[in-house]
Symmetry: C2
């Protein structure tokens, strides 16, 4: 007779396997599917998601959890954490009335469609009522989750993306960063103005050559294509499953930097999935530790390692050998000036690593206010523009370059934005620890060799799965919880030294 | 309150939607997946198949069927047939004890693995016991299905691939064909020997050029790439779903005929899926009418239309314009001699359209004897070689070119082989009827225009879904049930005139 715990692992393995199928269908929808397949694909994804949800909220799942918990805390910490995470997933799923889940899904979908038109025409009024409905339902969702999880309402939303960190941890970290930015950004801009202007490599850079280069570099970073694919999609992403990761990019034949750095970013995500503990595959404890943890892995590869002086000294000659032409733009110092440039702009996804957190801090504060009911949707554009001016000194010329620019809120994703900056800060903190632990790390990057960094990440991050929450993972890997000092030190060294 | 019939349509729509997801994952496994994803993919396919099976055999499904049937025969023939097909699917699924299904799946999988080695080394003894176990379990399966379906045991296996036709229909048709072949094949060989030897176009034929050509021709045949993809795989196939069909091929840079004719074949399958009645999508009555019906659609495009004199007269100059070089081999008459050639050989998949049925007839007779218990597995190689000699006058040099050549039996597929020849015969019968009904059919093919043929097929085959069984479908479209006379007339005109 199987124990209740064994029955739970079988149940969660089935849920995860259905999730894998959906991940593959989602990848296909973005990278392969002809447009005529979209309607049927929506049904396929919804039916599978419904089956997985059904397995999670089934009364038997609750009984199995009660029974397994009554057997006492498992001695093995992986099992103990797995059981806690199963309960956590069950609590989140059962806290929400099915009608609310359905209403939220419908409102998100309707709002997101109208948002596309509103952004195109920079007309917030067009989507205002839809967004108000999304916010109303999100507040209901948060109100249902908070007591079940024993946390604040906004924290309960954040928890859906990154377990183990909440407003009380994040707000002071962001406030510290805001203070840093206030003096560091003008100084970085000043220093940059004294530098020679970077030279842009001159193309064309054929897509097939870029693709081969991207593949080769992601392999150097550690991606094994027996368990991965690289394809094209409009919006680059990392999808698939731990034994079959699918990364995508797009190619601009006038500028190879977008695909090159984009693929290195997605490779960071992919290496995390590849490095998850296989012994706990398809169990909650075997999954990645959350969205912020995931972003730390893409950014440690893209921002920390790939834009380091050491790696650029190796990469420059490689790029020149690949594309030919004038060697000047491929000089490592020039690549540094080109790819490590600060600048104030309105659009988050175009922002450099120093100003990016300002975009996130603005959204973090506004969405807290929206969820708390302190800010009405009608007042969002004004609050956005005021906040943007306060943080970066600029006023968006229209809402398309302001509060309409991101899909997230209009698709019901509140509590996600902080993950980007938590990831960036964690990446700097992890890189600093890796450099302390692994003496030859930069020397290896100077030979185009990621192996020492990857080895350290596998031991300290990837292989831990979800055994630890965000701050505990950082504590175990770096000796302290999230601390913006390492990120600030990184930016200081890179932009102010 | 929904009627029982409505609840059944919702249930079968869910089952079909899960099936669509599995079809996509199967396509991905063959056309995209890196090798390292195979183990997880196997689990994904099995879990989804299990969920679909669970919905089909659920006690509630039986209750809904009983209730719907008690409401009386629906007046709409689509609904009436749909209900019958639902019952049929439920009967097939519930007739088999779960232990038997599982044992069969395990035995098939084990046998198929060993078969690969046995075929490689031409060593039947290696796989004999595995095949004996597969046959034993298949006989148990047939014995369980036959009384539930009210048909013979081998018929119950055939029914799993092609509903509406059984041994009593097929055996006399095949006997007639055997008699035809006995005089027609030597005569065709004699006539062919008097013809000039065909010239082979000289390559190389770059894969990218072949791919563009294949795509263009499949579009001319009627495939709409807003609802389709063309990719590469080791074993060409047509997969996907009706609104998103996925066809594959492989490219040999020394010979474009394989990809060209292969893609036209798969296009025939794809057009059938695309033409199924959308109003009955995801319902049993909205599916293709069976494997033989499906093969008739690939063969009517590949064998009947694409190798017709009319189409070759258009295709020859197109090919020469595509590949250049000496125009001689692209002369329509030469293409005819090249692509319409009879010849006795050991391997079914390499056979021409005249000898192909002999390969099928042999297998049809042997598998009936195996299922009836009249032939033991140990005696299979001898019986194969005797039968082959009797039908085609040759003795296979070893079992790799004899009873080990096909995967089907070693993977538990008994009752499938007849579909190939039933499809070939039906294709000829349908083409003859289409030519009678549509005066300009060949004139259009002579302009590379498939539209009149496709229009006729949509009205007479595709759009009927599974409303009719195989013989009834032929009767509605051509005025008679399956009759080998049209196939014989086609071969006579093509090879003996």
């Amino acid at each position: 007779m199987n124990s209740a715990y064994d029955r739970l692992t079988a149940r969660f393995a089935r849920i995860a396997t259905i999730g894998e199928a959906n991940a593959m269908l989602g990848w296909d929808a973005s990278a392969m599917m002809p447009s005529g397949g979209a309607a049927a694909r929506g049904d396929q994804l919804a039916v599978l998601a419904g089956l997985a949800h059904g397995l999670l909220i089934a009364p038997e799942a609750g009984d199995e959890l009660d029974w397994a918990e009554s057997e006492g805390e498992p001695a093995d910490p992986w099992r103990a954490t797995n059981l806690r995470l199963m309960r956590h997933a069950h609590t989140r799923a059962t806290a929400l009335p099915p009608d609310l889940v359905e209403a939220q899904a419908r409102a998100n979908s309707a709002c997101e469609k109208v948002w596309r038109e509103a952004r195109r025409t920079a007309d917030f009024a067009l989507v205002r009522q839809h967004l108000a409905e999304v916010v109303r339902l999100t507040r209901e969702t948060a109100a249902a989750l908070a007591p079940a999880l024993g946390m604040g309402e906004y924290d309960a939303l954040m928890d859906g993306y990154q377990r183990g960190i909440g407003v009380a941890d994040v707000a002071p970290v962001f406030a510290k960063y805001e203070a840093f930015l206030r003096w560091a950004l003008p100084q970085a801009e000043e220093r940059q103005a004294r530098d020679p202007a970077p030279e842009r490599p001159v193309g064309p850079f054929p897509a097939a050559v870029q693709e081969a280069l991207c593949r080769r570099l992601s392999e150097r970073a550690g991606l094994d294509y027996r368990h991965a694919r690289l394809d094209r999609s409009t919006h680059p992403f990392c999808g698939g499953t731990p034994t079959d990761v699918r990364i995508t990019t797009r190619y601009d034949e006038t500028d190879f930097a977008q695909s090159l750095l984009g693929v290195l970013h997605e490779t960071g995500h992919a290496l995390y999935e590849r490095g998850l503990p296989a012994a706990h595959a398809r169990q909650p404890v075997g999954e990645a530790a959350g969205m912020a943890a995931h972003e730390s892995q893409s950014l440690i590869v893209e921002m920390q390692a790939s834009r380091s002086d050491a790696f650029l000294s190796w990469l420059g000659p490689e790029l020149h050998a690949t594309f030919g032409g004038d060697p000047g733009p491929y000089a490592p110092a020039n690549l540094g000036r080109l790819w490590r440039r600060v600048g104030r702009g309105f659009i988050r996804v175009d922002a450099d690593e120093m100003t990016y957190p300002a975009h996130v801090i603005l959204r973090f504060r506004l969405e807290q206010a929206l969820i708390a009911g302190d800010l009405g949707v009608a007042d969002l554009p004004g609050a956005w523009n005021d906040g943007f001016k306060a943080l970066l000194g600029l006023t968006p010329p229209d809402d398309a370059q302001g509060c309409l620019q991101d899909i997230h809120w209009y698709d019901g994703a509140f509590g996600y934005f902080p993950s980007y900056t938590l990831g960036a800060m964690a990446a700097a903190q992890l890189m600093a620890a890796a450099r302390r632990d692994v003496a030859e790390l930069d020397a290896a990057l100077g030979r185009g060799d990621f192996a020492p960094l990857l080895g350290w990440l596998r031991a300290n991050v990837h292989g831990r799965g979800s055994l630890l929450g965000f701050n505990d993972l950082l504590r175990a890997a770096t000796g302290k919880p999230l601390d913006p000092a390492d990120f600030e030190a990184h930016l200081t060294a890179r932009y102010l030294a």
